[in-house]
């Protein structure tokens, strides 16, 4: 199993450009998450999904959109990139929120630089 994969690994954007980050998991997990990580800020939840076709806002959703058309994929979109969105983006997945099934498995991350 590949686990959780993310593409691309690294990207440079100019202000105002758009892009989509792709996350894929092969563990048949119901829950998927998008986080951003900035120095000193830890992991901040952007959006998450509790199943195919559903999405919900996290802690810092502004400027991002997501879609979960297939259970194994969770896409994060930036419609008009801003320098404040320079960050490392992590995708994660978990089975469910049940007490013994909610270990989150993280992808390797996407490093995004917005100029």
């Amino acid at each position: 199993n590949a686990g959780v994969t993310q593409t691309p690994k690294f990207r440079v954007l100019k202000t105002g450009q758009s892009m989509t980050l792709l996350c894929a998991q092969d563990m048949n997990h119901e829950y998927m998450y998008w986080y951003r990580q900035d120095p000193g800020m830890g992991l901040r939840l952007i959006h998450y999904s509790v199943g195919e076709g559903t999405t919900a806002k996290g802690e810092v959703p502004d400027g991002y959109n997501v879609s979960r058309l297939k259970k194994q994929n969770f896409l994060l979109g930036l419609e008009s990139a801003a320098p404040s969105q320079t960050s490392v983006y992590f995708c994660a997945s978990s089975l469910s929120p049940g007490a013994n099934q909610e270990t989150q498995y993280f992808g390797p991350g996407t490093r995004l630089l917005v100029l």
Partner: protein
């Protein structure tokens, strides 16, 4: 909203010494998880604690969940250079749909 606080934020530890990192919540947690992120890597799950007062050990690592289920600690003995990284705790308040991560404790090991 639910907040999970970690202290300290940074630690410099001499190789061979012990250290502890703490995690505190303003609300009672149904469970607490610990993750480790190596420099340049991604967070990796270490352990989950569910019961009040629970203590679990993994070799040199000892994890504890407080009696009131509002705090947790990770104690590492005989620190090695491989212990370098950022340790995150994450907790869920009962009924909440998602985990809340702390900001992490970045650990630097001095050889």
């Amino acid at each position: 909203g639910q907040q999970v606080m970690q202290i300290p934020q940074y630690q410099h530890v001499q190789e061979g010494e012990d250290f502890t990192t703490y995690c505190n919540s303003s609300t009672t947690l149904s469970n607490i998880q610990w993750y480790k992120q190596r420099p340049g890597g991604h967070p990796v799950f270490l352990i989950q604690l569910v019961k009040s007062g629970e203590v679990k050990k993994q070799k040199r690592l000892t994890f504890q969940f407080g009696e009131a289920k509002k705090n947790s600690s990770l104690h590492i003995t005989a620190t090695q250079t491989t212990d370098v990284g950022t340790y995150f705790c994450a907790g869920r308040a009962g009924g909440n749909n998602r985990l809340a991560f702390g900001k992490g404790n970045q650990v630097v090991v001095i050889p």
